[in-house]
Symmetry: C2
Subunit: 325 residues, 2 copies
DNA sequence: ACCATTGTCGCAAACGTTTGCGGCAAATTT
DNA sequence: AAATTTGCCGCAAACGTTTGCGACAATGGT
């Protein structure tokens, strides 16, 4: 069976297509009785407008694109969930694409977005993205692009980020206040801007006041091995830059049968899900993907409303006490 | 700036629109030289076909819908990720909608799918879905619907599921083989088919051979409280029907400072992510969202290829030893 | 020299909407 | 009674494609 069209409704009712169209949109030109007849038949026939035809006619697609390296990630999860929620509420659909951190796939995904004539794009670039041009092309076409989390290192773009420096500073401050003496600090890949930001703010706050062991890990396994190896130096605290690192570190701590916070303290920067899996819950500085999603969305709506002002926004972070320090 | 169209290319080259269209699709009617000129100009002009116009003309949208209660969920994550991967590989896009377990939103999402004239739908129904009619309407429109995970309790639909009975049986068997004597078994909401399936298979396999404490929990907090309360009865093993329940149970075990598996054994049915967070890693029966996604996709492609045969498929489960039992 | 074939290309309709404009009858004002 | 306004509706073009069909020239075969 085929979908009902305006034409079908119009022929059944002996009206013109335009009258039916206007009746369904409650246009003042149409008589009340006619509107009633039309809407009635439309519902019994289960009429649903063809979004493609509408976009073709109006060149308004009401679809947002969202490109991201991986969907399966604690942080992106909540971000996506948040954006999806807002989109639906504002009558937009979401097209979600993942690149798998492959620049070639990333390009393909952008093509797909363009082919679907998206109204706007939320983008988190892959680790090795050098080709920002494909994104800039969208801007040429007057399609707003909101970069989030991992943003390109060039100016003149809209960016929303979690407060990297502030978060790291907050964690470092908490460590100092607790009078810790020797901290094992594990950071991520140093190629990422996010890592460098957090690292510099963290070390700057610690400021050589206490002993600092700094390491970099690319994934949970590396973080676990690293923690295990460093435990011989008897740090009294472990700081983890991210959730993934935290899972690795905790694995090592459990393996070594150390008590938290008795034997060793733990503090992390996190989205909030992982820290609550342990007992005692891990104290963490929250960088909420959910909040970031909301921020990105309002930023997008501002662009669509005509704001050409480029902005860089950050969400506020808060310290969530869990009892691990 | 506007997007390039076939018409623009055609006027620049002094050709007709149809010739340009055919040239870009490598139609045999068109001379090689012409094809070259066209493709060349198309790339310099960054031509991207308008997907909406194509859908309108061909009534083929190449977009799949995917509706799910929540995106932020261990299991759905990997499922979505898997489907997205396959979709892209086969030149389809994915429209992902979440219902928040709200039947009203669920209906709205289905409307959205219909408006976008999706080629097929992957659906996981919300907990209280009673209105399967909206889904059946899609079938009337010859749009294939593949239900996954939480499937409706009616026949004549395509369903792909993890092997609920087999998984529960496998876990129960493992418990029996380890000569355990007293098992605390925590299941989810009994309204869900998935719960009832797992529960009946589990109890059937245990078959009163050993002591069984059965409880139901709707979320992690309930699971934690429940475990904490039941510990006084000294079970030697905890079985968790799902990841969410596992996180609650583990919280209680850590809180009680019990050693795994020395003081108490743990076994679960899981997607695999959560069990690996602990040390020792939790032994679990794997129900892979990734595999289920692949299965769902092949099922979808079969439908699109014309298969009208309704099927119920299940993925195989495997026991992953972790050292917690 | 003629006819048939082959190689290239354009015409025009169609997909389902939206919307400016104009038409016509009834109602209202002069 | 004539002129104007108002209420209601239809015509037709346009959005960007695809595709059956026909047109025309060049080529080949007799």
């Amino acid at each position: 069976m085929n979908n009902t069209t305006l034409k079908e409704i119009s022929t059944v009712l002996g009206l013109s297509i335009s009258t039916v169209s206007r009746a369904l949109k409650n246009h003042p030109d149409i008589a009340e009785k006619t509107k009633q007849r039309v809407t009635e038949l439309a519902t019994t026939l289960d009429y649903e407008p063809n979004a493609n035809a509408i976009q073709l006619r109006t060149s308004k697609s009401n679809v947002f694109g969202l490109v991201v390296p991986f969907i399966s990630n604690f942080f992106y999860h909540s971000f996506i969930s948040s954006v999806e929620e807002e989109s639906r509420r504002n009558n937009y659909s979401l097209m979600i694409l993942q690149s798998g951190d492959d620049p070639f796939v990333e390009i393909t995904n952008l093509k797909l977005c363009r082919q679907n004539r998206i109204s706007g794009l939320f983008a988190c670039i892959s680790t090795q993205t050098t080709h920002v041009e494909a994104y800039l092309k969208l801007k040429e076409l007057d399609i707003p692009v909101i970069f989030f989390d991992k943003v390109p290192d060039v100016g003149n773009c809209n960016k929303v980020c979690v407060a990297d420096e502030a978060s790291a500073t907050m964690a470092a401050t908490a460590i100092l206040e607790k009078k810790k003496k020797k901290v094992l600090a594990i950071f991520g890949n140093n190629n990422l801007l996010i890592t460098r930001k957090r690292l510099s703010a963290f070390t700057k706050t610690i400021d050589n006041k206490i002993n600092l062991l700094i390491h970099h890990a690319n994934n949970a396994e590396e973080a676990e091995a690293l923690t295990l190896a460093s435990l011989s130096q008897n740090p009294d605290t472990v700081f983890c830059m991210s959730d993934e690192i935290l899972t690795g570190a905790m694995k090592a701590i459990q393996k070594s049968a150390l008590k938290v916070p008795g034997d060793i303290s733990v503090i992390a920067i996190s989205n909030g899900f992982i820290p609550k899996l342990y007992y005692p819950e891990i104290t963490y500085v929250e960088t909420s993907g959910y909040k970031l999603g909301k921020l990105a969305f309002t930023s997008m709506m501002a662009c669509l409303a005509g704001s050409t002002f480029m902005h860089e926004l950050t969400t506020e972070s808060i310290l969530v006490e869990g009892g691990s320090i």
